[in-house]
Structures are given as structure tokens and as C-alpha cells.
């Protein structure tokens, strides 16, 4: 088992005829992911490799029975694309798009909850279950199948840690990139709960960063509800307050959201916190 996606996931790519969408759809197919279709309004009836292209998510779901959708469309159109997927009954929506206004995301996240769809992201690298499927842009080379679950706010930092784990001979059950935006569909706690309930996940690596309080809430959950060991790294110890460090959500604001308070909370909850991401494998050994 694994969480969120596996070899049986039936995946749509919204924006499959775009440069990014097409590029990553090919890599996903090569990895073994069942990409059953694409959606680009105005291009219904065309084909992308072996996958039919539809004008609407609704039409795509009727024909392909897709249960998962990857949203790769630009920020101005992404909120609409996510809501379209939720409205068409897609259960898992993964949105890679960066730079979506927060006001739009607040409405979209509320809409997805009402429709019973799980949204991952936005501004995330996606989800990968090594050896089975990947939905998003996580490179195949950074992970082997195994029993450590990885949940992270960031892309390349996750690759870095995954790669260090692979070199140390540690495999991964599923990698979930939840995204670096202030308002996101799925939080650390949501994913920790899934890992806690997944029989194939034995340990968890959590990669957080400055800004917001999601890591503090995660620490509470680890302390009160988790039986599986957690190793963690928090990026941004050297970041000055009041500055937004690349990710829209990565800002220490009014003394809240600093790396030190997150590290303290995680340590107090019993998690092992690394001061160097390359030390994560040794904390999982």
C-alpha cells in the first residue's frame, strides 16, 4: 500500500497540450502512471500520445473514469480548473501552479471541501509513490520504494532529502509535496494522519519551513496521535523576519512562524529534528 496514489490511479492532466503539462505528462507515463486523458478547452478530440484530450473534465471523467487530476495550467486559470475538477467528481486534485492569489485559493479550498475532493497544493511538486506512480514533477531518480513517508512544503529540498535517503539505502512509501503557499488544500496533519494509518509506512520525514503555524499544529498531532517515529527538518533558520523567502507562505510575521519555535515544538513532541537535511537519513536509520 501507499497513500493517495498507486499504480491503479486513473489520472487526467489539465493543461496536457501546454508545454509544461505535456512535458511532465510524458515523464509520468514513462514512470508507469496511468495517464488516461487530458483536458484542454477547445482541443477536445485530439490525442496526446496514447491519451485522448477532452474539452471538459466532466467529459473526460465520463469516458475514462479518472479519479485523479493534475492541474498544470497558469495561475489566472488554475482556480477555475481546480473547481472544474472538483465539480466533475475528481477525488484527488493535485495543483502544481504557483502565484495563485490567496483570495482565490480560500474560495477554491472551501469549494473542494464541499464537493468532497482532496486538493494537494497549490505551488507544490505533486505526489509520488515510488515504483508505482507519480503525479506531478518529482523526478523519478530521487526515490526508491520503501517504508518511509515523506511530506514537505518544498520541491527541490524534498528531492535533496529523497536522494540522500536513497543513497543511504532508505526507501519511500509515498512523497507528498503539500506546497509553499499560505492557503493550501492539504496540511501536514492531514498527511501525517494518512501515513499513521498506512500499514506500509513505518516512519515519516517532515520537511517544513518558516511561516504560518502548520508545523506547530503538526507537532501537536505527532505528540497526541502518532505512534510512528518522525524525523524533521525546518528550512529558514537564517531568514530575517518580515521578508518573504521565495514561497508566498515563507515569512516570519509579527514574531510568528520562526524556524526556532517550530523546531522546539517538534522536538518537544518527540520528533527528531535535523539541523542539516543530509542528516535526515541517519535519524531514520
Amino acid at each position: 500500500m501507499s497513500i493517495l496514489i498507486d499504480r491503479n490511479s486513473l489520472v487526467l492532466v489539465q493543461g496536457i497540450t501546454g508545454r509544461q503539462g505535456g512535458f511532465h505528462a510524458r515523464l509520468m507515463m514513462a514512470y508507469g502512471t496511468q495517464v488516461v486523458g487530458g483536458v484542454t478547452p477547445g482541443k477536445g478530440g485530439e490525442w496526446f500520445e496514447s491519451a485522448p484530450v477532452f474539452d471538459t473534465v466532466r467529459a473526460a471523467v465520463q469516458t475514462t473514469n479518472a479519479d485523479t487530476s493534475l492541474v498544470t495550467v497558469p495561475a489566472r486559470f488554475a482556480p477555475d480548473a481546480v473547481m472544474e475538477a472538483a465539480d466533475a467528481g475528481i477525488k484527488l486534485i493535485i495543483c502544481l501552479t504557483e502565484h495563485i492569489p490567496v483570495a482565490d485559493m480560500m474560495k477554491v479550498v472551501a469549494f473542494c471541501k464541499r464537493r468532497g475532493s482532496r486538493l494537494i497544493g497549490p505551488n507544490c511538486p505533486g505526489v509520488m509513490t515510488p515504483g508505482q506512480a507519480k503525479v506531478g514533477i518529482i523526478p523519478a531518480m530521487v526515490a526508491e520504494p520503501g517504508n518511509v513517508g515523506v511530506v514537505s512544503k518544498s520541491g527541490t529540498l524534498t528531492y535533496e532529502v529523497g536522494f540522500a535517503m536513497k543513497n543511504a539505502g532508505i526507501g519511500i512509501s509515498t512523497i507528498v509535496g503539500i506546497g509553499g503557499d499560505p492557503v493550501i488544500g492539504t496540511t501536514f496533519v492531514d498527511v501525517l494522519e494518512m501515513f499513521e494509518n498506512d500499514p506500509e509506512t513505518e516512519k515519516v520525514a517532515l520537511l517544513g519551513e518558516i511561516g504560518g503555524s502548520a508545523e506547530i499544529v503538526a507537532a501537536d498531532y505527532i505528540k497526541n496521535c502518532m505512534t510512528k517515529p518522525v524525523a524533521a527538518f525546518i528550512a529558514g533558520r537564517s531568514a530575517p523576519p518580515g521578508k518573504r523567502m521565495g514561497h508566498a507562505g515563507a515569512i516570519v510575521d509579527g514574531g510568528e512562524g520562526s524556524a526556532d519555535e517550530k523546531i522546539q515544538a517538534l522536538e518537544a513532541a518527540g520528533a527528531r529534528v535535523a539541523n542539516n537535511p543530509e542528516a535526515i537519513p541517519s535519524l531514520l536509520a
Binding site: 485559493m105 523526478p139 527541490t156 528531492y159 535533496e160 528550512a235 529558514g236 521565495g246
Partner: protein, 386 residues
Amino acid sequence: MKLHEYQSKFLFREFGIPIPDGQVARTPDEAHEIASQLGEAVVVKAQVHVGGRGKAGGVKLARDADEARQFAADILGMDIKGLTVEQVLIDPAAAIQQEIYLAITNDRAAGCPLIMSSMEGGMDIEELNRERPEAIIRERIDPSLGLQNFQLTYIASAMGMPRARWRSFGSILRSLYRCYSESDAELAEINPLVITGGGELLAVDGKVIIDDNALFRQPKLAAQRDASGEPESERLAREAGITFIKLDGQIGCMVNGAGLAMTTMDMTKLYGDADGIGPANFLDIGGGASPEQVAAALRIILSDAKVRCVLINIFGGITRCDEVADGILTAYNEVKPNVPMVIRLQGTNASEGNAIISQARMPNIASAETLTQAAQMAVAAAKEQA
């Protein structure tokens, strides 16, 4: 993007929130003229993007126009926390009966707008939150529905607003909510909202921050950007489309991805802090890392004279390290840096990339295999250059 106090208040006025009838002056004479027109005691307020202006001497009460000119002369050109004051707001002084705090912000965890209000306004909200959190009323708003009337009543009654003021307070809060949502603000704050001697409500100070990701649909607000406090390097980066933040250390960092960029900074501090060495900047070069991007990033990093070493850390996922290596060499030959560089390429085609770097035999360039090693080498190089 932060708006100045005067920009925030003028925006409030567009949404029907009463503000003092003030104007902005850039010279002492302008201050004198505005104060004479107002014909009463005025407050001269520095317009800079930092808190604590009052404590720094950037806010002064003048009895007449001559005094306003004098205070404006004192405040204009003043340095407040590293920023030079270039404009002052001249507001008529208000007779204050009560100071109220009122703000709307994004509740990240709940994913919805949050209204915060208190009858104990005037002071810094973080201070109030530490000392008397129970004095702040918090109300979350359904993002799909917006602010409802029952919520206005709840907020006014829970905070202890005098009943005679409910109506005017409700209308201001409704206007502030419209201002927050129609301006794509991540913060719209009135502090203080004053009950004047005559019982009127007046937004005496204001702060608005606009969501950078929404500026594309807020052209009027985007045009109000005041980049005067922005370091030259940050301006260059913004124009080149590179995410860059200047810091005060010695190791210039060039990294792909925001999380890894922060981590790389952290590593230089982890190994360099004992010797007073740390990151000179945050720089996320983004996905492609083309020669043009690498060259632009290198130029921006080297525009900081404090930089004693450049650390390039690229984890190639989709990006291929051999292409990045070519980009680095092209940029190197173009920019000709006179400080040592440590390059760490990992991930897709890393060995090919490292071979390209080592075959070029650049005297100033060293390769590292791991991030830990790269950070330690950069710290050692920076120490040597000291």
C-alpha cells in the same frame, strides 16, 4: 506589496471610510502650506515602510503651520531603521475619546478571512496579543459568502462598542471588508480607529498589504509601489524575474527552488556563524537555470561588495546538471567574478556537469559533492578572503 499610511488611508476613503483630511508633503514648505490650509493643529507623520515610527521620532504634533514646517524639516531625510524619510503626511490633529483596533487579514490555517477588533487600539497589536489576548475579538468569515450582518452585531457587542456607535462602526467594518476583498489585500488594518470628541469614527492610521500574486489584476495599486527603500540588487533581480533578498552575510548563494535556497543559507550559517560568516542573500533561480539566468544571478550577487565567496547549489531534477554547468561557465566568462566560487551540482546528469566544471580548470572554482561539504568549503573560502 506594502502601501504607505497615506496610500492606505486614501484607499480607505475610496471605500467610504472616514479619514482625516490630510495631504502629503515632500518639502518643509509644502508641509507649511498644507498646515496653513488646514488652519489647526496638525500631526506630521513620516511615511516609511517600517513600524515604530513614533518611537523613532517620526511622528510629531505641531500647533501651527510654522511648527509644521519645522517638524517636517526635522523628519524629512531622517533615517528610521535604515530607511530615509522622503515624504510626510500632514493630518489635522483629532480629538481622541477612544482608540479602537480593527483589521482584516488572511487566516492561513483556517483558509479564510479573519476580522480582529479591540477597544484597546492604538498600541501595537502584537503587544496587545501578548499582554491581553482576551481583549481581541476574532471572527472568521466564510470566503464564499463574505461578511454577514449578524457577524457585525457580534463583533460590535463582543468588543464592547457603545451601542450608539454600532451603526457607524458596522458601516466602517463593511467598507473595510470590501476594501480588503476588492483590493486583494492580505492585511487591511485601521489602528487606531478613533472615536472623536464629537463621537464620530475616524481612521487615524492605516496599513494595507496587497497580495503580490494578485497585483496583475490590481494595476492601480501596483502603480503605487514605492521602491525607494529597496536595495539596488533587489530591484535588478525583480526586473530580471529572479527571486532575491539581500542579507548581510558574506556568502552569495545561488540555488534552484525556494526551500532549498533557504536551506543552503542555513547551512552557511550553521558552519560559519562561529566566525561571523553567513549568507549574503536568498536567491532562487527557478526551474531552467539557463546561461542568461545564471549570468544575471551572478551579476546581482556580485553587485554586493561584501560578498567574499559564491556558493552555487543546484539539485537537478528536471533541470539537467550538464546544462547548468555550461550556463555557469558562460556566465563566469562573461561576468569574470573576482571571488572564489564553490559549485555543487547534484541530481540528473550531475557527473557530466561536474566533469564540465573540472575540465574548464577555472582557478577560482571548486566543486563539492554534498551540500554539507559545499557549505563548509564556502565558509572556509570566505574566511580566507577576510
